[in-house]
Amino acid sequence: MATNTLIGSLVRIRELSILLVTIACAGYFALTSTGFTSLDNGHTIAQYIAPWAIVGAGEAMLLICGEIDLSAGFVFTLAPFVLVLLNNNGLPLFVALLATVVICALIGTVNGLIRTLFNLPSFITTLGMAFLLQGLSLIISNGSPVPAPADTWVRTTFGGARWSELTWALVIIAVMQIVLSASRFGIYTQATGSNPVGAAESGIRTSRVKVVNFAVTSALAGFGGILEGMRVGSFDPTNGGFNTMFFGVAAAVIGGTALLGGSGTVVGALLGALLLGIVYDGFNLTGVNANAFNVVLGVAILVAMFLNTYLSVLRRRASAVRGRT
């Protein structure tokens, strides 16, 4: 009985299993490669995970309310060029940055409105938006990278300073997790994904909930794109894209967010990103072929999905046992 309740309570903490796997991977690479534990390498890992975690935070919220945004990666690509455009047209850098994030939120709003007003699946809506934004990025940039704006406090604060991108990612994760688990909007997001009809019957404006989450996801993705560009020092139209979007979604799913909506956490997306980052970096250090990483990524997603479904069965059994005793 004692073991039963122990297993039960462990299983109930969704993030625990993924955290254990992450620690195991970190331990493995620490032992098998040189330099994995150095601070510099920590910084490298941080560079991988920050964009995935930022995009993943938004995608987790969207997945929880039953939607997905395939265009987030191209908002990530486009945002820096919008920033440059606004900045070149006379807006001070900081104001241009704020304006860019607002524009990105509007792109998300458009996604959400198309989704909810015309009742088109978000998969199709945002796929269309993805290609549209990719085209726009290439047109605005003429297909070639531009240097990031010169060193100012804005550049330093938003990605330029050594750990600033990761710091922003952690702040975003914390804020979004609080929104999800401690605010009414978080409850509405879960309710909308779990039972859209029931949520609407309870008077929750499910369309508005979805539109807001689309807007937040795009705003975060755009902000993430700017941070990334500022850190690297150059805005590149081949940055971001489907790759970044899928890593964001993968991070959320590996972190325990249900693809069909209703449950999940934002912190899970951070842990998912952390696991992906550690494996990616570890493979680089140990000289494993980059293609092998994709194999691992695929396996990780499948295992995560399996654990998700299987653990919820275990959870139900555990509480059934508890109910009987």
């Binding site: 409850i187 039972n195 009809v197 029931g198 019957e201 008077g203 209703g262 449950s263």
Partner: protein
């Protein structure tokens, strides 16, 4: 008589594309009265209730609330007036725990801060369920782990424990066993005795017509989208009701 009506519908109709769900419905519920609405599957009971609760907008006709003509813009609007509903599908969120379902869209927050008061909501949920005598394991369990009857009891508890003036229950006992069903009916009688909350409750005719007849003051029969029968319960019998419902199937 009219000025004691809590809620009244006049010539209300509703179509869904080619399907006419409700046509020319006239219905009223007085203060402190329990109205039973019976009708076959597909007769339009749920549609009528969803109109009275602001979920559907009627295509025509007029609603009155406490004697005043009213246009119910939304469920939230209707709820703000004191119209509470238990929908046939229960509107339960499976992934959320019992106490959040009990407070769905009425969550308590630390005003003026927007943060949820989870502890307070758990306490209130526990109180509410205890006071009606519904037994469930823990208010923090997700609703998906409960039985059909328990879910229904929670849905009813959710609407009863708001300060409702009108309570609309769509097939409130459908999935309930004798014990839970009895609890809910007793609860309705208590509310009625307090006299401040009239109920309007809809049932499927197959379900223990006898039990329903003892609770309701008046029975309306809905057939093919119109009300064809309106009588005080004491003037009718189980046999007559069954007769009416089944009349059209007889050869």
């Amino acid at each position: 008589m009219t000025d004691t009506d809590m809620i009244r519908a006049e010539h209300v109709r509703k179509r869904f594309g080619p399907v006419t769900a409700i046509q020319d419905v006239n219905l009223h519920v007085r203060k402190g009265e329990i109205l039973g609405l019976i009708g076959d599957n597909g007769a339009g009971k749920s549609t009528l209730i969803k109109i009275l609760t602001g979920y559907h907008q009627p295509d025509g006709g007029q609603l009155f609330f406490e004697g005043e003509p009213i246009h119910l813009r939304s469920v939230v609007h209707a709820r703000s007036l004191g119209i509470e509903t238990v929908f046939q599908d229960l509107a339960m969120i499976d992934d959320l725990p019992v106490y959040l379902n009990l407070h769905l869209n009425k969550e308590l927050v630390h005003r003026p801060l927007p943060f949820l008061r989870r502890k307070e909501m758990r306490r209130k949920a526990r109180e509410a369920l205890d006071s009606i005598g519904i037994t469930i394991g823990s208010v923090t369990d997700p609703v998906s782990q409960l039985s059909g009857g328990q879910r229904q009891a929670i849905a009813v508890a959710r609407s009863v424990f708001s300060d409702a003036k009108v309570l609309l229950l769509d097939e409130p006992l459908a999935a309930m066993g004798a014990k839970e069903g009895g609890l809910i009916l007793r609860l309705l009688m208590q509310l009625k005795e307090r006299g401040d909350r009239p109920g309007h409750h809809s049932d499927c005719p197959q379900l223990q017509p006898d039990r329903r007849r003892r609770v309701c003051d008046r029975v309306n029969l809905l057939q093919h989208g119109t009300i064809t029968f309106d009588k005080a319960s004491k003037d009718t019998s189980v046999a007559e009701l069954l007769d009416l419902v089944h009349a059209e199937y007889r050869l």
